[in-house]
Symmetry: C2
Subunit: 406 residues, 2 copies
């Protein structure tokens, strides 16, 4: 992190109900370990307090206590910010400290940074979101397996993906809070979550996905905020959207935000909605930003490349790379072709994954495909070079990688 | 913009070869209109210079002249930054001014902001990009219409989507410069574009898309930078990727970046790669950021909601919203159903778009669908309410909107 900041952040204090009995990660040596948050927010060496406890009671005391003591705050607390974030920020501003909240909505997607700064020069006209991972997971399962809502929900509860009381997720209330917060950042509007028209996904059936498919569409629990004149339409409810829309590709527990501005056309942001590590990235990114603001002056501005220095780098030779491969041949058909190609691959220690041939093709310029299991590029290149010399080759084989992990 | 900044940005000077003969937009009243850039970079009232001329000769003089005179610089210049951005930034840093370059790569996607700040707390392990709109457009056309590369290219040239000399686009050189720049920000690595393994798309044929489809894949010109130990594999070349990958949904002239970090898992960013308006948004967003840095102190920090104030907002009543609709019914089949439903819709001034019925369904609990042309929600709600009372309804109709513009 210091290669990005140009200085180090120190963990001064750690507070949790069980902090005293926990083993902290190696390298983390705070001068204070406590179960009393008051000791943290009043500690003279603490400049930034990260509030990660959630809820709106103790968390509010921590956040407000920190601000009152002149500490900046980084928070992952959706409930507190949706409920009262603007007033909390006003208190922070009056004290000259910072409130940072990237982790509060779409923890894994830096959508606050995008809306607040990245496209600040645009005027957002429409914001669509898929903001609840549980309901998106359920809809994906209904679509892909034709299961009924109740069965998918029960299975999701069994697997721990859905709460015993699923109301917040499947009836849209969790998404509603997140939409209120994102709409604030996109439109500068303070909206009470309770004022947002909200419908859940309980009535969506496999039949609806069949019809949607006939219409070239899929169905998502769509959070929507759109300008209309001086007003905003804001809603959370299921909607059909074209299958070819980039947002239709948001499956399972992922979240996404789609924004269209008056000038910049559409942009789209996608990632994990929550989870300890994605949320952790958002918190650490916020800590870095706030730390920079606390050390003003040209030396601590964000460098345009993100890093304070760039390391002169020669890319690794591609020959060392291990990938799986697609080889497409054009040949004059004759006996023994697969034998000859397989021999060359075997000589190079490369395993065949599959052989594919489409029907009814020109026997004098016959395309077919061999896919390879993971192999080192230098071996594949050498094999392909040797294959190119075979008399039945109409042209050199086309060799391209398969990026299955995407 | 001032509702986000809390202060106004003034256009002090405008310089172009034809500035003196052009009509400037209303409201833009610079004190200086000139065709001599030296007058701009030496003007005492200019604090930030936006360089939008491109190329590496005059543009370099402008950028370096501005920095030498203590002005911050916002640039959209991919060539100059890829060639020499790090040295230019070092000069800016030594002068205590800022270099901002969001518009230089993926103009319509704030991917610099994301990598530099939004996910700064992560350690990027893999970055994939679709960074050349022309080649992505060509591949999309080959895939969707089965046309040969040469035919699609000729058509793209005729339509002005591809240059007369298409080499930079279809042979991967444009994408390579962009990848070098993004890899700098993602990995802190300074990479010469010429060191990047680069292959173009000339050999990709409709047959390859047919085979790819059999493998559950599509083909993209993939920019790739991956950590391996202390090194990086960096390449631009066609690759297969799973059709269900979010990146496979990037069609036509769009650009996208996919990043996977050591902690935050995968995130994905999508938008227009270029174009005057998306690039303009990036430039203005950069101007706002730099202007904030020039006015340091708590009052000018980026507010967490992006706006300096939030306007208390009641969402517009949903009844006023105009959308197209999907109505799904469950009925006991009998004659006259369509007649009854169509009558109610006609009474409410609503036009039917389509009637859909899947074959072989239970006649006593028969689902079917009517889609509506754009109609006001209050009319649709009222019609649906009336339909609910019809004796053949097994349950109230499900009414959800269709977001066709996504």
């Amino acid at each position: 992190m210091s290669e990005k900041l140009g200085f180090r952040l120190n963990v001064t204090a750690v507070c949790s109900r069980t902090a005293k009995t926990k083993t902290l990660p190696a390298g983390l040596a705070p001068s204070l370990i406590t179960d009393d948050w008051r000791e943290v927010v009043s500690h003279p060496d603490v400049h930034i307090v990260a509030e990660l406890i959630g809820g709106t009671t103790v968390a509010r005391e921590v956040v407000e206590g920190a601000i009152a003591n002149g500490k900046s705050v980084v928070t992952a607390n959706k409930e507190l910010i949706a409920l009262d974030g603007f007033a909390i920020w006003q208190r922070a501003a009056a004290k000259g400290v910072t409130l940072a909240m990237e982790a509060s909505v779409c923890g894994g997607i830096p959508v606050h940074a995008v809306l607040r700064e990245g496209i600040a020069g645009d005027r957002v006209e429409t914001l669509f979101g898929i903001l609840n991972g549980t309901s998106n997971y359920i809809l994906t399962e209904i679509e892909q397996h034709g299961s009924a809502f109740g069965d998918v929900l029960a299975e999701a509860q069994r697997l721990g993906y859905a709460e015993a009381d699923p109301t917040a997720d499947v009836d849209g209330f969790d998404a509603r809070s997140k939409l209120a917060l994102l709409a604030s950042i996109a439109f500068g509007a303070r909206i009470q979550p309770a004022d947002i028209h909200t419908e859940g996904i309980r009535r969506i059936s496999p039949t609806d996905f069949e019809y949607a498919k006939q219409l070239g569409c899929t169905i998502k629990l769509l959070c929507s905020a759109r300008r209309e004149g001086d007003g905003l339409f804001v809603s959370v409810r299921p909607a059909l959207m074209p299958l070819q829309a980039i947002m239709a590709g948001v499956h399972g527990p992922y979240n996404a935000v789609w924004s269209k501005g008056a000038f910049g056309q559409d942009t789209f942001y996608y990632g994990r909605g929550a989870g300890p590590l994605p949320t952790g990235v958002a918190v650490v990114s916020d800590l870095m930003r706030v730390a920079r603001e606390l050390r003003p002056g040209p030396a601590h501005r964000v460098p345009p490349f993100g890093f304070t220095d760039l390391v002169e780098t020669k890319p690794l030779p591609m020959g060392l790379q291990k990938r799986s491969w697609y080889l497409r041949f054009r040949i004059t058909d004759q006996p023994g072709i697969i034998r000859d190609l397989a021999s060359i691959l075997a000589e190079h220690g490369i395993s065949i994954d599959a052989v594919l041939q489409l029907p009814d093709l020109d026997k004098h310029n016959l395309p077919f495909v061999i896919t390879l299991e993971t192999a080192q590029e230098s071996a594949v290149r050498s094999a392909v070079e040797k294959m190119s010399q075979l008399p039945f080759m109409v042209e050199p084989p086309l060799a391209i990688t398969m990026e299955r992990s995407l």
